[in-house]
Symmetry: C2
Subunit: 338 residues, 2 copies
DNA sequence: GTGAAAGCGCTAACAC
DNA sequence: GTGTTAGCGCTTTCAC
């Protein structure tokens, strides 16, 4: 009474029997392998259709490919992710791959557990989006399965691929847009960090900001304000920032994660944006585009980025062993917030 | 050169050899089965630890449980989903289950393919969130794997479980909130549909709206405006609605999917909300809570809903065969939009 | 309490 | 061009 009753499964053997051929023949038809006559293929396909046969991914995983790839997300909350995953999925689907997603909840050990679990299911490839775990650990996983990483600049690594937008250039473009409007006292809103900053997207964006300020001869005005990521901590920090007597004229926000709450709070506290405050943000997510928000933001072409990572993964699954580290050019979604 | 080299895997046999016991013994320790001495268990655990052994989910799937469950999402865009999936994941994790997610892209055949793929991986259970496919097809899947469904009222079905908030009551609460403020000419914004309406959440919400209006003696004022879901089509329809000479005083929106764009557009076109227009929406997603939006919305307690579905699935995996159809009570997130 | 052995459904050599 | 067969890594009787 403890084991649910299931109708006995249609296996490759059922199909073989029905079509009057060997299991090897069926397997070959399934995998489009060479050495099957048109007649046999037709015959087998008919049986498959008739019996509603579907190969067991689990069993496949024990020998060859599962035709399934995994995606690891930090969390589901960032509205930047849906279009990215969409672009990835579509490209993988065209190549005949299924996509399964795991959510790491921004906790390192959950993330590792999920990655291992996917590897243990014998997925054929793995896309990691803004993983918390560092390069060395990633290399270990990359030795077990083809890996592509988005949101983590590792240009020297050879064991896995990376796809990113040029975050440094994005920071530069955003800052230069503010400079072109005449702002001079421009600060950047970035992230509080406790781990290594090299390779992090926000750090690259900081580099772009610094470069643009320096080129404009404003290195003395460079100021990076670090704000928490979790809403409860972020709000009071943003509030405090807006109340500063020496508040900068304008902010470049490393992400809409900070940018959208900031413009909301600023306007709510009767600052006109632009006017009292200039704001350019990063990621160009849906909330930034809401008419009541209307926040200028650097666009990452997330769908293209996802498709790019998919291309990398596909070619790596096919056998490529040298690394690709691709960058996409960012652009600014112009909106009247600065 | 076409096959990537992988270090040979640590299998159950490696562990058995290292610990000097049989594979059966290792398997039993792994599954906490009866009939293993404390000494043997200790011994095996040590080898597992030492070798960094992880059982292959794929191989497990061929015989027993995979300790993995699947979630099928319509799409990733709805900000209502992250907290729901979070609640589900956490409860499943406590029971020792991994959660993998598939995205159906609101297309029926993608959805079916994904469900079948997960079943073919031998997941132990399946959570379907607002599936496009109908009850009959769901029953077929439910015969292959334990299934729980959110966002689809099917109170009579016995082969799978459902977890929902009481959408009808939600519609009633929202409408009554508007009535209490003195609005009388209240319309509802709902969905254009081409498939069956029974069991759909928006239809349940419509029922609640109708009931509240009728109870208030306003059945003659009942009006349901149907709006498209895709942004490109939605925008002009909302615009047209706001421009109507006989525009109702207030709207109950079936979801923030319509509610958030509507309040944005209304204010952008210089309507004061509330004042010129009263608005109560449904789902209480993050964008509704933005200070510049500040839209009253029915809260579904998505985390509790996810946890509820997880409980259902766990008990069904354990062998329960009678159906559970649970409802959660909705509440109104009070905000000054009406 | 422990181990030997028979599969689970598939793929891929290899033989015919 | 087609079939035979040996596993893949695990679970699970059933002897001992």
């Amino acid at each position: 009474m403890d084991k649910p009753v299931r109708p006995s499964r249609v296996t490759i053997r059922t199909v073989a029997a029905d079509a009057g051929v060997s299991v090897a023949a069926v397997s070959k038809v399934l995998r489009n392998a060479y050495g099957v006559s048109e007649a046999l293929r037709e015959n087998v396909m008919q049986s498959i259709e008739k019996l509603g046969y579907r190969p067991s991914t689990a069993a496949r995983g024990m020998r060859g490919r599962t035709f399934t790839v995994g995606v690891l997300l930090v969390g589901m909350d960032n509205p930047f992710l849906p279009p990215l995953v969409g672009g990835f999925k579509r490209t993988m689907a065209k190549a005949g791959y299924n996509t399964l997603i795991g959510v790491g909840e921004a906790r390192t050990h959950v993330e590792s557990a999920l990655i291992e679990s996917m590897i243990d299911m014998r997925i054929d490839g793995l896309l990691l989006i803004a993983p918390r775990i560092g390069g060395e650990v990633l290399e270990r996983y990359a030795s077990q399965v083809p890996v592509s990483v988005i949101g983590h600049h590792e240009h020297t690594v050879t064991t896995f691929d990376t796809a990113n937008i040029d975050d440094c250039m994005g920071g530069r473009i955003a800052t230069e847009a503010l400079l072109a409007k005449g702002y001079r006292d421009i600060a950047m809103l970035s992230l509080i960090y406790n781990r290594r900053k090299e390779g992090q997207v926000w750090y690259e964006r900081e580099r772009g900001y610094r470069a643009a300020m320096t080129d404009a001869g404003l290195e003395t005005s460079i100021e990076i304000v670090r704000i928490a990521e979790r809403p409860e901590e972020m709000q009071p920090q943003l509030h405090e920032l807006l109340a500063r007597p020496d508040r900068p004229e304008a902010f470049f926000c490393w992400s809409d994660i900070h940018g959208v709450p900031l413009i909301n709070l600023a306007r709510r506290e009767n600052n006109s944006v632009p006017g009292d405050l200039g704001l350019v943000s990063f990621d160009n997510t849906a909330p930034a585009a809401l008419p009541l928000v209307d926040l200028a933001s650097i666009d990452q072409s997330p769908d293209r980025l996802g498709a790019l990572a998919a291309d990398q993964l596909i070619s790596r699954i096919k056998g490529r062993t040298d690394a690709r580290h691709d960058l996409i050019e960012p652009s600014l979604a112009l909106r009247p917030s600065y």
